[in-house]
Symmetry: C2
Subunit: 211 residues, 2 copies
Amino acid sequence: MTQNSAQTGTLYIISAPSGAGKSSLIKAYLNLSDNHPTKVSISHTTRAPRPGEQHGEHYYFVDKAEFEVMISRDDFVEHAQVYENYYGTSRQAIEGNLAAGIDIFLDIDWQGAQQVRAKMPSAKSIFILPPSLTELENRLFQRGQDSPETIQKRMLKAKSEISHYSEYDYLIINDNFEQSLFELRCIIQTERLTLDKQSQQHHALLESLLK
Amino acid sequence: MTQNSAQTGTLYIISAPSGAGKSSLIKAYLNLSDNHPTKVSISHTTRAPRPGEQHGEHYYFVDKAEFEVMISRDDFVEHAQVYENYYGTSRQAIEGNLAAGIDIFLDIDWQGAQQVRAKMPSAKSIFILPPSLTELENRLFQRGQDSPETIQKRMLKAKSEISHYSEYDYLIINDNFEQSLFELRCIIQTERLTLDKQSQQHHALLESLLK
């Protein structure tokens, strides 16, 4: 087979209500032995590191002044202020990796997703849904972390997030974890089969076939 | 899980030069135990049945007058005349199946593909390529059916077909059969995850999640 070049990577926006299984799916995909090169984007934040959090691994920790300079330079593909802290995804954290053929997962909510779509229209977006509200509530209870009042607040937030599902390219209904993981793999595999991406990778082969 | 409706099926145009492995891939996909409901479209033709060919199974055998009436009624999504015989794919062979949630494979060449894209823009098209011209030639020799002269003619025809690869949505480089089959599965699975298709299937669930 003729020598291959690399395809550029794809930016995947992945959103879901809390309890839909997004984090587990992302983790399982990253642990597959035969996945394509993939990284989860690391965000910038102005909040203080929690015990065990490493700069450049969990977040890039910056102060408020630096974050605001980055906003003014249009360094972020999405950012938000939550209470007194900023959170954002820098272009730098994405574009080098995409150019190197690495797919990037952006684990963000619908508000971040709207900003990213506007700035990077080639991004593909995936929304993960629970099989029912009852199941979502069960999963939040089973975590055993929250009081019933907190769970009711999470349910309201989940419904608000769900109300934006129709802004996404793909929907995964996470009823069966292995099936959902297969579906996530397929979306990523299929993007790598598009004419555009295959022409990048198999440029030399395609030329040789036409000789 | 809330009761599902059916998704409509998708029309897949599948083209390839002779020897790329298209027929084996289609056959292997149809034989998978967990494929989505799929049929290969049955063409109309004016040529005489060969021994063993059944009307409605291998082809719909019609006479020239009937075929020409069908052309005049715009019954075909693609048709061609090869020497004195007509071949074509009728809308009727496709549209009922798509509405019933069945994916349809159209095994046609680049000329048919162009006609179908113009008439059914929602069709997805897949082009299957060999890993090299040498491998393509080896495969044609290994069939043991043809003289070297016939193989040279087939190679010229193959190169002419290959020259249209860039008109297709997806390229599969058939170097490893199992990998190519996985890729075909992924394309079909991914189409069924699009917002449009999932909204059809999970209409009731999506409504219930927003209550």
